[in-house]
Amino acid sequence: MALEKITQVGGRGVYVPGDDLDTDRIIPARFMKCITFDGLGEFAFYDARAFAKAEGQTHPLDDQRFTGASILFSGSNFGCGSSREHAPQALYRFGIRAIIAESFAEIFFGNSITLGMPCVVMSSEDIRSVAKLIESDPAAILTLDLTEKKLSIADMDFPLTIAVHAQEALVTGKWDAIADLLEGLDDVRTRAATLPYMAAS
């Protein structure tokens, strides 16, 4: 299975501030009553957006200035909580192609990489600086470069970090593990036969 080599993500940015934005926030459980991931995009941050509206405010994801943005910025421990792949799926289907945060919860991180959606880490200072730049010029195009490990906006570069294995997986087009795993099936059977609780199967 040849997958796209993801070396760069370009697009406009949107900043959703907050730490510990959990998976219930990213997609409330009541929208997970589905048997496909289709159509989940509209439910991304559903309650937060509805709240903002009710209070006469506009959530960044509904702010027309940021419509079509594909790079999402946020705080620390992004995606904590449940293992639901519905969360990264909803963001991806909303149009997000990369997430930049201070840190990520582990399962969310893995789920996102498997979709080919890079999750990269930047310092909170830099995230705030970029957020200001986006705010003052929402049309600015950002370039996330996974090979150079930097984010460029206007004539500025910001350093970023990403786990080596995830970076490699993305840039070599091996972000979905299934092909590699399938190649090892003979070894899987051999290994399983050594385990009493599996050998009986």
């Binding site: 510990d20 459980a29 421990n77 909580g81 840190s103 294995h165 070599t172 299934i178 199967s201």
Partner: protein, 469 residues
């Protein structure tokens, strides 16, 4: 020697190292449920792949099942489509399904241990972050996403990097009225909701040695709330005693051989840990959350913190929490009015939880105006509890006695908070909107504290309400 249980299980389950350095890890036992599996079966069909070891996957239905009117078709079409999809996926692929009519249905993390499927020294995966529960048996158990459910179905393996291990020791005897739930809430409060990132938590020490298997499950269940994807306790006689005679436990000579193997999987006395933390059981009091993540917790006699008191990096979240919870900083949490009392979930929906609460509820009444529900974690728990007369005690006290499922732990079934209702809950997550109402408020606590809240109509100290000394 000098290996942890994690090292040993990793070694016996490593298939090979993948080109990117991740381990292709054999997943001996795979548990599935209706929410995170249908898309995975869809992916298998798209890729024209088959389930490699159908006999190593077990299914149940828990998140979307109604707990009162359970006749099918469910009134919610979407929920009905989900149970039907699971049923047909299991039938097509030869997977055992603990379906509603089997009498074995329940929350996936309660059913696995109950059936004896969860065993020491094994690897377990499930498309659910509370899979860490199974670590209570000395298994290495991971919550996984749907693409990984697909991977495990098709290859019985997944690609994963080996975590570091943090040893968390708790020593001594818990004070009366303090429970396993308080221990884990305290650990998360102290180490933070992302303190466990990159780590597996190994729980031990004399407090854990004395814990029952079910208490160990309560702690391991919430490892993920502390950021640790995996949590485990080394298997011992308590573990073997629990497993003996269960439907899927080894029998006869196989049992004896298994126990010898299981003992050998425990961490060596001189095992190397990447980090170690120690707590004193005597320092822990009944704990409740005041905020919107499980780390925002205080002892029942403490006051709701001022956001200005919390470390700077947690301040914004604290402010958001106070606003959402409609609590007053600096005021006691005790006395906060409660609308709903929920006793259940994979954290605290097991028989011992219900027994402990029933013991104190006998002859007591739920305060009028409080909606109180008990939701056994499985049909197995329900039937034993009913035969022991517990259901009767709960009903007489004014609790609703429901059918097994996730219920009010999350808003995917008819059991939901309404508006700004505040729920005293024995579950594991107090995220905004978690219990089905975007403005609903969740206060996490031990089962007995839930009972105390139900009786008094406000957040209370169970030791005072039930005169525990």
């Amino acid at each position: 020697m000098s290996q942890t249980l994690l090292d040993k299980v990793w070694a016996t389950h490593t298939v090979r190292t993948l080109p990117n350095g991740a381990t292709q890890l054999l997943i001996g036992t795979h548990l599935i449920h209706e929410v995170t599996s249908p898309q995975a079966f869809g992916m298998l069909r798209d890729l024209n792949l088959k389930v490699l070891y159908p006999s190593r996957t077990f299914a149940t239905v828990d998140h979307i099942v109604p707990t009162d009117e359970r006749a099918e078709p469910f009134s919610d079409d979407l929920a009905d489509a989900m149970i039907k999809a699971l049923r047909s996926n299991c039938a097509e692929n030869g997977i055992t399904f603990f379906d509603l009519p089997t009498g074995k249905q329940g929350i996936v993390h309660i059913v696995g241990p109950e059936q004896g499927i969860t065993q020491p020294g094994t690897t377990i995966a499930c498309g659910d972050s509370h899979t860490s529960t199974h670590g209570a048996f000395g298994a290495i158990a991971f919550g996984i996403g749907t693409s990984q459910v697909r991977d495990v179905l098709a290859t019985q393996t997944m690609a994963i990097h080996k975590p570091k291990v943090r040893r968390i020791s708790v020593h001594g005897k818990l004070n009366p009225g303090v429970y396993a739930k308080d221990v884990i809430l305290h650990i998360i409060r102290k180490l933070g909701v992302n303190g466990g990132l990159g780590y597996a938590y190994e729980y031990g020490g004399s407090t854990f040695d004395a814990f029952t298997q079910e208490e160990r499950m309560t702690v391991c269940n919430m490892s993920i709330e502390g950021g640790a994807r995996v949590g485990y306790v080394n298997p011992d006689e308590t573990t073997f005693e629990y497993l003996k005679g269960r439907p899927y436990s080894p029998k006869g000579a196989d049992w004896d051989a298994a126990v010898i193997r299981w003992k050998a999987t425990a961490s060596d006395a001189d095992a190397h840990y990447d980090d170690a933390v120690t707590f004193d059981a005597a320092d822990i009091a009944p704990t409740v959350t005041w905020g919107i993540n499980p780390g925002q917790a205080i002892f029942i006699n403490e006051n709701v913190p001022f956001p200005s008191e919390v470390p700077e990096k947690d301040r914004a979240t604290a402010e958001e929490a106070i606003a959402h919870m409609l609590l007053k900083p600096g005021a006691p949490i005790k006395g906060t009015k409660v609308d709903v009392a929920f006793l259940g979930s994979c954290t605290n929906g097991r028989l011992s939880d219900l027994q402990e609460v029933a013991r104190y509820m006998k002859g007591r009444k739920v305060k009028s105006g409080v909606k109180a529900i008990v939701v056994p974690g499985s049909q197995g728990v329900a039937s034993v509890a009913e035969s022991m007369g517990l259901a009767e005690i709960f009903r007489e006290a004014g609790f609703e006695w429901r059918g097994a499922g996730c219920s009010m732990c999350l808003g995917m079934n008819p059991d939901k908070l309404v508006g700004e209702q505040l729920c005293a809950s024995s579950s594991n997550r107090n995220f905004k909107g978690r219990q089905g109402s975007p403005t609903g408020r969740t206060v996490l606590m031990s089962p007995l504290m839930v009972a105390a809240a139900a009786v008094s109509g406000e957040i209370s100290d169970a030791r005072e309400v039930f005169d525990i000394r």
